[in-house]
Symmetry: C2
Subunit: 137 residues, 2 copies
DNA sequence: ATGCAACCTCAAGTGCACTTTAAGTCAAGG
DNA sequence: CCTTGACTTAAAGTGCACTTGAGGTTGCAT
């Protein structure tokens, strides 16, 4: 598979494939002249990267999580930690979603006068503070 | 409240408060000389901004969603659309979390040989494609 | 009154995730 | 054999969300 084919099959631009290679996220199996050749399973790797990105992981984190040799996730503890991080994020997003749904439905003139809305905000502020604490361990 | 106090109470750096003001996300109630003064409710606005950011909204989107006058969310349709977007994102994150948990527990040597994992990937790729479609309407 | 820490503005810098551009190489079809 | 279009690299550019720095002003404690 050449880079154009890999790009087409994965939906990821060729420029991004080169960029990901530079970052150690994917590898080409070899070259034909200067041109990169890819194994078919690169599309799966790219799907996994896309999933990780959508879940909020940085490219550096993903590179750590999925080494080049096809063995994803050597470090099960890291994986579990990430899963927990996602769980927290999911709870946060649910709160935001509920807050938005409430705001869309609430008849109060100012949402700052609505106690339900305020409760959402307090929860959110709390979570944000917790996140900061976690960041700096 | 001066900017230092607002920063302390909200946990948001003074530089960010100035930046947010420039972007139309918050407003100071006035000045004492050159120095900004803030009403107490700026902390609530900042909490809401933090929540929105955590949920994946850009500053520009948040500025549109919460005009300066304290009236948050004039546009209920926009709010509901955002809530739905969050719902999709939550589903995505759940898939990622489950995928990670599976990867952490799965005994297969290569996850690319594990059908359960592959199923997660196919779902993820599908969602990513759907997202792209939505982006370009 | 005066010193100075804390504020101010405006411009430039940072990190991430890419994309674009310029200049060059080369595989494959005519 | 030769053209050409798809590839190559390296470097610069983009957009977002801030942060930092330089140089200037000022509220307030002494």
């Amino acid at each position: 598979m050449d880079i154009a084919e890999a790009a087409k099959r994965s939906g990821v631009p060729a420029s991004t494939l080169r960029f990901y290679e530079e970052k150690g996220l994917i590898a080409s199996t070899g070259r034909k002249g200067l041109r990169r050749l890819y194994a078919p399973d690169v599309t799966e790797r790219l799907a996994l990267i896309a999933l990780g990105r959508a879940a909020g992981f940085s490219l550096a984190e993903l590179a750590r999580m999925m080494p080049a040799d096809g063995e994803i996730a050597i470090d099960r503890q890291l994986l579990e930690a990430k899963a927990e991080e996602l769980d927290r994020k999911i709870r946060e997003l649910k709160a935001m979603r509920d807050g938005l749904r409430h705001a869309a439905a609430c008849p109060a003139e100012s949402h700052f006068e609505c106690s339900t809305f305020k409760r959402y905000l307090r929860l959110a502020a709390q979570r944000a503070a917790d996140d900061k604490r976690r960041e700096s361990h």
